[in-house]
Symmetry: C2
Subunit: 150 residues, 2 copies
DNA sequence: TCCATAACTTAGCCTCGGCTAAGATACTCG
DNA sequence: CGAGTATCTTAGCCGAGGCTAAGTTATGGA
């Protein structure tokens, strides 16, 4: 019998490369997103966001926080008032809000498909940075549908 | 009225830190997984896995492939026969298989919740590294259930 | 056979995001 | 009003994972 429909398994090289590129970009953005999201959370719930607390919650040394915050500052996302905590710029706040939206949507979706809360929260922390807008929209739609037929 | 059930929004600091730690570990592992998975794919579908092709498909320079492969070799995942391509050790093969399993499951799941194939493939490339076994099991269960009621 | 060229390596550079140890500084409380 | 302490910074280090430019070297086609 003749060789049937050549099984197209590997995508065209450029498409393939484009995917990995997007992935690397997302990874680079992830740290910034997590830091500003956490700063926003601390500001909202504790009234202030101290570098020490960031260090503790990120599981990282204070020196690392100093360095990372310096980068975020250079990137125009964060402002610092030494001994008075960290603050977000407009841009930082926008990023934090987007991050929180994605984070929450991700968690709600994972819960909706049957995951336990703790695992959902834990995995969402990583997954959130790799779901495109299109994917998030699909998740949102899924949630809406599930709700409507409940 | 009295302050009701204190809204626990931020998790305990150690738990929080543990999540970020797991995330950082997953990120570090991701490159190895992607390389090894790609090498396995190339071996299966093209008969050989050349460094040039890896570079092309990963969207990375040849020098970067040399360096990364050296690391993977040190880690006991890959072997090289210069001008004859790359090969996987037992450990590398095991990792590739696990990666492929996760990748495929992720894609199938994304398709099942309504995502288009191209986005599913693209996002899976990043998401696959951040879904815990528990989460993957939940996705698998979801697929099985959906199938049974079709 | 032999040599042009594709495949690979080396050298040297960069940024990010970690770390420890040591130093500076500002709040706070006695 | 100090001084002790918590907070923050600095210095110096590391590995991963990128890059470009400039070599090598093995293969295969004329
Ligand atoms: Mn996160
Ligand atoms: Mn998050
Ligand atoms: Mn991947
Ligand atoms: Mn993959």
């Amino acid at each position: 019998m003749p060789k049937s429909t050549t099984s197209r398994l590997l995508p065209p090289a450029d498409d393939h490369a484009a995917r990995f590129l997007r992935q690397r970009e997302a990874d680079r953005a992830a740290v910034a997103e997590d830091y500003v999201e956490l700063i926003a959370d601390l500001l909202r719930e504790e009234g202030e966001a101290r570098a020490v607390d960031l260090a503790r919650r990120m599981g990282v040394s204070q020196a690392t926080v100093t360095a990372t915050v310096a980068r975020l500052q250079r990137a125009g996302l964060v402002e610092t008032k030494p001994y008075r905590g960290l603050f977000l710029t407009r841009a930082g706040d926008a990023m934090a809000e987007a991050a929180k939206r994605r984070h929450d949507l991700m968690v709600r979706f994972l819960l909706a498909v049957g995951l336990d809360r703790e695992t959902a929260e834990a995995d969402a922390e990583g997954l959130e940075h790799h779901a495109s807008e299109r994917t998030l929209a699909t998740f949102a739609r899924f949630l809406a549908e599930q709700e409507s037929k409940a």
